[in-house]
């Protein structure tokens, strides 16, 4: 459904262009979930922004990003607006800043519905209410008129999910969706995400630096390091039998208990004496 071929992204720097993504290729089939792991600065977020055509203006790209055959990189702005939200939904990392402080939760969820489906105000509001219920916000009838500053981080991220899923897109990109949240809230958000992805039969790209999150929610995994894809395979294989040294380092850097939770094979991890 989504196929990225040899994608490179570069920004002009003081000493010539700086490549932040370097020749990455990947594929996501319908209903499949792909995890992208890597440290911050490894280019994962640029990759996701490129997929919805929202790279900063100064970015230079090569390669292609095909969504059901159509190249996103060559699309007009108008066509891209039709893709964003409707075909591809996006959840961002910082629930504190990703919501507009001057609009209510309901307005922000309804906005996409009204933009793409030319729905009326009442219809979009009813849909927003259903979505808030689906992301299991307590007391949705009241929360629909709440402003972001009146909600907790977990509640805001639920609104973020509702916004991304408002139009039942084919592909959902979640960029570090739980990183900014408390551990207990992280689990709730991931549960909701897993459930909705399964129910709606979505394809998912889950970006995280947290192998635990990747292990729990994805079928296949791509490991990125300094803009390059260093390893790709089923999540199980990547975690149990990592081939790239970088992946082994990532696993080794985990505390032992977390590693055990992944089912990762300890002896394979480099530099682990026990």
């Amino acid at each position: 459904m989504l196929a990225i071929r040899n994608l490179s992204i570069a920004f002009p720097g003081p000493d010539g262009p700086v490549r932040v993504v370097d020749g990455v290729s990947l594929e996501v089939a319908r209903g499949e979930s792909l995890g992208i792991v890597g440290e911050s600065g490894s280019g994962k977020s640029m990759l996701s922004l490129a997929t919805i055509g929202l790279l900063p203006r100064s970015a230079r790209t090569s390669g292609e990003i095909r969504l059901e055959g159509r190249n996103i990189l060559g699309m007009s702005e108008r066509a891209l607006c039709g893709v964003r939200g409707r075909r591809i939904g996006m959840i961002f990392q910082e629930p504190m800043t990703a919501l507009n402080p001057a609009m209510t939760a309901g307005q922000q969820i309804a906005e996409g519905i009204r933009l793409h489906r030319a729905a009326g105000r009442a219809e979009a509001r009813a849909e927003a209410l259903r979505l808030l219920d689906r992301v299991r916000i307590p007391d949705p009838a009241r929360r629909i008129d709440s402003y972001p500053h009146e909600m907790s981080g977990g509640q805001r991220q639920r609104v973020g999910i509702a916004i991304a899923l408002a139009l039942k897109p084919d592909l959902l990109i979640a960029d570090e969706p739980t990183t900014a949240l408390d551990v207990t809230v992280q689990k709730e958000i991931l549960d909701i995400l897993d459930e909705l992805v399964a129910d709606l039969g979505l394809s998912l790209i889950l970006i995280s630096h947290d192998l635990g999150v990747i292990a729990r929610s994805t079928d296949r995994t791509l490991v990125m390091c300094r803009g390059r894809a260093v390893e790709q395979g089923t999540t199980e294989a990547v975690l149990r039998q990592p081939t790239a040294a970088y992946t082994r380092d990532l696993i080794a850097a985990l505390p032992r208990r977390a590693r055990a939770g992944l089912g990762a094979a300890a002896p394979l991890a480099a530099g682990d004496a026990r």
Binding site: L54, M90, F92, N100, P101, A102
Partner: protein
């Protein structure tokens, strides 16, 4: 919210009292008083004393101050020595020119600054940004009364499109009155809009980098929708602050522009009162103007809570 309002209202009252003491004190040390101004130099001491007693000018300063303060609150401001009419009525009549003039100027200034500043911010470093920057620098540098002269020279005298001065009053409906106010309001508005353009641009540029603008774009909102629906409402607080700060300059400007266009407003009244040494009028006009300034600033405070929901409960 109510507590916040109460605190602001108390601050307002203190500022109002401070200004009234300042204005009263200053007019107190001005040589001569309304009685001597009315009678002229030929008056005998007896008639002068009689008139003073009649006007209540023989009372101690504190009593006269309190009387004036009471008058300010009730609208009874005494009688003008030159016009021979109640000052309250005189000021109301002149406010009917000055308030629409400044209001129209604010509308024009915002009407110029918002689109220009936002367009500039939509693409920093672009052509519109260059135009806006030039306009801002040039607009801040030109005196409003000079713009008034240029507008009279070109639009009024050259092209004959609009009147060069004078005011027909509101009696014939708003049409002729607005025509008379348009050029002076534009003269006032251009420097104000320059400052506002600068603030708007800077504020919108900052907000456009916020995450929620990206969220909006990811929903499928176009650039212009992300700009106007998401960035601009969140960029308004600094713009409104600047509007509030500018009211002092706007009123100072109104005095000048009313004189350029011979509009019978408060500013022209103050200026004429000075020429005629009509102290009662000067004192009250200054006080009314200062009150307008602090009322506008109180209003600006309330406006914050309208544009930014986060300020609603905290206050």
């Amino acid at each position: 919210m109510l507590r916040h309002l109460a605190r602001r209202a108390a601050g307002f009252a203190v500022t109002f009292l401070l200004i009234s003491v300042l204005v009263f004190g200053m007019m107190e040390i001005v040589p001569g008083d309304p009685a001597s101004a009315m009678l002229g130099t030929s008056a005998t001491p007896e008639t002068l004393a009689a008139l003073r007693a009649q006007m209540g000018l023989d009372a101690p300063a504190v009593i006269r101050y309190l009387r004036w303060l009471g008058g300010l609150l009730s609208g009874d401001l005494g009688v003008s020595t030159t016009y021979g009419v109640p000052v309250g009525a005189l000021i109301l009549e002149r406010l009917a020119v000055t308030l629409p003039l400044t209001g129209l100027a604010v509308l024009l200034a915002v009407g110029i600054a918002l689109p220009l500043g936002v367009t500039a911010a939509s693409r920093p470093g672009g052509v519109a940004d260059g135009v806006a920057t030039l306009y801002a620098q040039a607009g801040i540098a030109v005196p409003n009364f000079w713009i008034g002269l240029l507008l009279i020279m070109t639009v009024a005298l050259g092209l004959g499109w609009l009147p060069a001065g004078g005011f027909p009053g509101w009696g014939d409906g708003p049409g002729p009155a607005l025509r008379a106010l348009l050029l002076p309001a534009l003269a006032l508005a251009i420097p104000q809009s320059a400052v506002l353009t600068r603030v708007t641009r800077a504020s919108v540029v900052e907000v456009m980098n916020e995450d929620f603008v990206r969220t909006a774009r990811a929903k499928g909102a176009s650039v212009s929708r992300a700009l106007w629906r998401h960035a601009v409402p969140n960029a308004l607080v600094p713009v409104i602050t600047m509007l509030g700060l500018q009211i002092s300059f706007l009123i100072g400007g109104a005095v000048l522009v009313e004189n350029v266009f011979t509009l019978p407003g408060m500013g022209r009244l103050a200026w004429q009162a000075l020429a005629q040494r009509d102290l009662i009028v000067i004192q009250n006009v200054v006080m009314v103007f200062a009150t307008v300034v602090i009322v506008v600033n109180l209003g600006v405070d309330l406006l914050y809570t309208v544009v930014d929901p986060r300020l609603r409960r905290r206050a």
